[in-house]
Each structure stands twice: as structure tokens, then as C-alpha cells.
């Protein structure tokens, strides 16, 4: 059983498991949506004193912060007890494309060239990661949700706004991947 969990899961198992998470939260009376935690954390840090958007009782979102803490533990569990040492099975076309950008595929989850910590993240990488984070935080709140809130919860509830948001995710993603990344790397 443990060996089975340790291996990378096929897409259908993963998809079923994500649907199960969404359904579980619905049965608990909650809606699956991760990015609203970012707003809650801003509120806890005191942003509500000056900006109205953050002036709400964060305790009503306590459950989602607990979910967030759990996801950190889940990540840790997957890197320790459930760790898989096989290299990631990335398509050869992607490996080639990334090589063209000067990013060498190392078989891990994320490229050490961008996320490497041991050698100290370079200044350029730190700026890129910070800028990417700002785009994610600003964009998800502007759109009122991220992959979980729109692509999973919203589409499951047949929400047209969520479909528009997902189209937006791809407009931005394709623009970054095909036009901007070659300029950045």
C-alpha cells in the first residue's frame, strides 16, 4: 500500500483525489478555494486597519488556515515518509524547449537553477520569484479565485465567470511561457 502511494499517481487517480477533497469540504459546509487564505493572512497581519477590503472577522476563515497548515504537513510527508526517488517523467519535447531557454531538466519537481537554496538563490531569481508571487496574489484576488476556487469549485458548479477566469489563466500562462520566458531567461 505504502509503495503504491509513494509512486507518482496517474492523472485519473490524481483527478479523482482532488474531486474528493472538494466534495469533502462541501460536506463540511465549506467551499474549496485556497487563495482566499492570502487575504485572511493580510487581515491577521493588520491590513484591515487601513484597507477596508481586509476589514473582516478572520475567525470565520479559520478552517481554511487549518487546511493550509495541513497542506504544509502534506508536503513534508510527501518529501519524507512518502518520498519517491524516481526522476519526474517529463516529456522530451518540454526538456528540449527548456534546454533552449538554458534551463537544464534535473528530474526533480522544480529546477534547482531557479529554486535552488543550497547555493543561495541568486538576486535575479529572488526578484523573479517575488514578482511572480505579486502577480499571483494580485491576479487571484482580482479574479476572486485561483485554480481551486475557479477551475475546480467554480467549473464543477457550472459557473460562467469561472470559465472566463480559467481562460484568463491560460492567456496569462501562454503569454508568459511563449513570449516572456524567452526574454527573461
Amino acid at each position: 500500500m505504502l509503495e503504491l502511494i509513494k509512486q507518482p499517481w496517474p492523472w485519473y487517480t490524481s483527478g479523482m483525489a482532488i474531486a474528493a477533497i472538494m466534495i469533502t469540504l462541501l460536506l463540511f459546509g465549506k467551499t474549496f478555494g485556497f487563495s482566499s487564505n492570502l487575504r485572511t493572512i493580510c487581515t491577521i497581519m493588520g491590513a484591515g486597519k487601513t484597507v477596508e477590503f481586509f476589514d473582516f472577522d478572520w475567525r470565520t476563515k479559520r478552517w481554511n488556515l487549518l487546511f493550509l497548515s495541513g497542506s504544509l504537513l502534506g508536503g513534508f510527508l510527501a518529501s519524507s515518509l512518502l518520498k519517491n526517488d524516481e526522476p519526474l517523467q517529463l516529456s522530451t519535447a518540454t526538456i528540449q524547449d527548456l534546454k533552449g531557454l538554458g534551463i537544464i531538466f534535473d528530474g526533480k519537481l522544480n529546477p534547482a537553477q531557479i529554486f535552488g537554496w543550497e547555493s543561495g538563490t541568486s538576486f535575479k531569481n529572488a526578484i523573479l520569484l517575488l514578482a511572480g508571487g505579486i502577480l499571483i496574489g494580485f491576479g487571484t484576488r482580482y479574479a476572486g479565485g485561483c485554480t481551486s476556487g475557479h477551475a475546480i469549485s467554480g467549473l464543477s458548479n457550472l459557473q460562467i465567470p469561472s470559465l472566463v477566469a480559467v481562460i484568463g489563466f491560460f492567456i496569462g500562462g501562454l503569454l508568459m511561457t511563449h513570449l516572456l520566458l524567452p526574454l527573461i531567461f
Binding site: 482532488i18 502534506g74 517529463l90 508571487g133 496574489g137 479574479a143 465567470p161
Partner: protein, 137 residues
């Protein structure tokens, strides 16, 4: 300890995100280059099953664990905020390879530099709050 169930659900979510490799920068690149079915298969399966589940939850009028009828709030109408906000998020998603869930899962996994992404995401969220009323929605 009523909160424990949320921690446990989150823990399972974190494991799923790693085992599905949805936390992988490489997989997100592969997705935006249309070079593998992997990510589309994951999201497609989840949405298909989600649609079926939500249909039956509504049809059968199921109640949650508190005994309240399960209601799923509809999204506000409009398209500007979804298209513009969504596109801005997409830029960051393809750059960092992380959406809000996976950036925390990655920290748990040991990718400490994701803390920089989370810091940026908090800053971006704050900026949205500041400029909210000036933006087209």
C-alpha cells in the same frame, strides 16, 4: 478538536499535490506548451467528477455535517475582473510554476525559496485590496 478534520483534509491535499506532480514547475511548463496530457487529465477528471457530485448534491438536497443544506455560492456576474485578474494570475503561475495551494505545499516539501513567492503573493493581495475600488470589475 473540530479543526482537526481540516488539517487532515489539507494534509491529504498536500500529498495529492505532490503525487500528482501538480506542484512541479516542469509540469506547469509542459502544460502551457501542450506537450503532455498529464495536467489536463488531472483537471479534466476533477472537474468532470465535481460536476457530477455537485449535480447530485443539489438534486438530492444533501446536508453538511452540521445538518445545514449544502449551498454553493454563485460567482458574481461580469467578465472584466475574471479575464483581467485571471490573466495576471496566469502570468505568475507560468513564471513560478505555483498556484496558491502548491506554493505552500512546496514549502512543506522543502523548497524554501517558495517563501519568496508567498511573500510576493501576500504583497500582491494587499495591493489588490488597496486599489480594488479603482479597478474595473
Amino acid at each position: 478538536m473540530k479543526g482537526l478534520r481540516y488539517i487532515l483534509t489539507g494534509l491529504v491535499f498536500g500529498v495529492i499535490m505532490v503525487k500528482s506532480e501538480a506542484v512541479s514547475w516542469y509540469r506547469i511548463q509542459e502544460m502551457f506548451r501542450f506537450q503532455s496530457f498529464h495536467m489536463y487529465g488531472i483537471i479534466g477528471t476533477a472537474v468532470f467528477l465535481g460536476i457530477v457530485a455537485v449535480f447530485f448534491i443539489k438534486k438530492l438536497g444533501l446536508k453538511d455535517t452540521e445538518g445545514q443544506p449544502i449551498t454553493i455560492p454563485n460567482k458574481e456576474q461580469g467578465w472584466r475582473r475574471y479575464l483581467i485578474g485571471g490573466s495576471i494570475f496566469g502570468l505568475g503561475w507560468a513564471l513560478t510554476g505555483a498556484c496558491p495551494g502548491p506554493m505552500f505545499v512546496n514549502i512543506g516539501y522543502g523548497y524554501w525559496s517558495m517563501i519568496i513567492v508567498v511573500t510576493g503573493a501576500l504583497l500582491g493581495t494587499y495591493l489588490y485590496g488597496v486599489f480594488q475600488k479603482k479597478l474595473p470589475h
